[in-house]
Symmetry: C2
């Protein structure tokens, strides 16, 4: 009986995913573009000061350890810079991708241009939507976060991080694009390195920021489709070395 | 003596304007693009409910009267929809442009693509930067407003209004573009009609919205350069008739 219930659940999930996929294709109407449905990760309560010490260690090439923040008392410990900050894992850059895939079941997509379809935008803040994106020989992490910067006024913040060093990140440009209801919003910037703290990028507002009302205008039935494109930005490479 | 003091003041103003103009050219580096320096208009305190009655009269083709809101008691009077809402003027659409030019000294610029350079971004909210833009046979009003939607957290809101009816407005698309520090933000939408209320567009957040931190990233020495382009959107014209 349990087996049949599980099978029925799996079929329902497949139908739901198929429906979301169809919606994303309809929203973007860009035939051939890869659409990935991303379900939310309901985050633990954010610790506002956990980024402070992480900024100093961004060029060392190793990822600072992730700790349960309630347990961090030793000032020598570097706070977590991983978006899934409740994870106690620590390791080098080279194994971050396999850790995120295996432990956190974060999907990885191939291709220079993809569509990120975040579902259930109505869920209360804080909530994260995360996906990995593999292109141009590197892996990127897209983080969409719903957060209340001003109490009672949730906003959406979207940014792209390179799973690499800041120097490597300076060689790329990422573009996030929303397109619906005769409105279009495009954000282009240099990705940050995953060694920097995603929380500080978001608290600085140096990313695509959407108020709830604008997010609703761009949403279709509770799902937000974000077109993502990554290109190399060789013109900036000389500045990156400075 | 007074004459010489005034002459000296005028020369200083010219040098300042020349400097702002040079800065805008440097920011956009788009040779040949018309740059207009726009000084702020420090607004009176916003009356939050003044838009409520204006929405019903947007298709009548005449501009509702502008009144000092402290004096509005008669429920038959339509509240002001003019961005310079402290103005007591009332009139038909055809004479709005000459009123704005003559009474409020709002500049009007010609050309499909211009650069709007808003100075003194540090001034406290509420503050407006307003310019008229003439192209494709119509006049548009660009309003950049600094406002505290959440107390203590000023934000910048930019929108474009057609000095015409909503049906006419549906035939156009406007684009606002910020480009600095290896970041680019583009907003494209259908302009609203000046018969609609600019306050409600801003309070709905259906416009380009910038947090203070992002505005600072795009600013150069306290001035924000916004590239503006207007095109006809014939694909939308059938929807506009609905």
């Amino acid at each position: 009986m349990l087996f049949f219930t599980q099978c029925f659940g799996a079929v329902l999930d497949l139908i739901h995913l198929r429906f979301q996929h169809y919606k994303a294709k309809r929203v973007f109407s860009a035939a051939g573009q890869l659409v990935c449905v991303v379900n939310p990760t309901h985050s633990l309560k954010y610790a506002p000061t956990r980024c402070a010490a992480a900024q100093a260690s961004t060029e060392q090439g190793t990822l600072p350890p992730c700790h349960h923040h309630e347990a961090v008392h030793d000032p020598q410990l570097v706070p977590c810079t991983c978006p899934l900050f409740s994870c106690p894992w620590e390791g080098h850059l080279e194994v971050v991708v396999s850790h995120l895939r295996q432990t956190h079941r974060i999907n990885i997509l191939q291709g220079a241009e993809i569509v990120f379809l975040a579902t259930d935008m109505h869920l209360p803040a804080p909530t994260d939507w995360i996906i990995m994106h593999s292109c141009l020989g590197h892996q990127f992490l897209l983080v969409l976060r719903k957060q209340e910067k001003y109490e009672g006024h949730p906003q959406f913040f979207a940014t792209m991080m390179l799973i690499g060093t800041p120097t490597q990140a300076n060689n790329f440009t990422y573009r996030l694009e929303l397109n619906r209801n005769q409105r279009r919003l495009k954000w282009e910037a240099t990705p940050r390195s995953i060694l920097e703290c995603v929380d500080s990028v978001i608290s600085d507002g140096d990313c695509l920021v959407l108020n709830t009302s604008l997010a609703q205008l761009f949403s279709d039935n509770g799902s937000l489709a974000i077109g993502i494109a990554i290109t190399t930005s060789k013109v900036h490479s000389s500045e990156a070395e400075m």
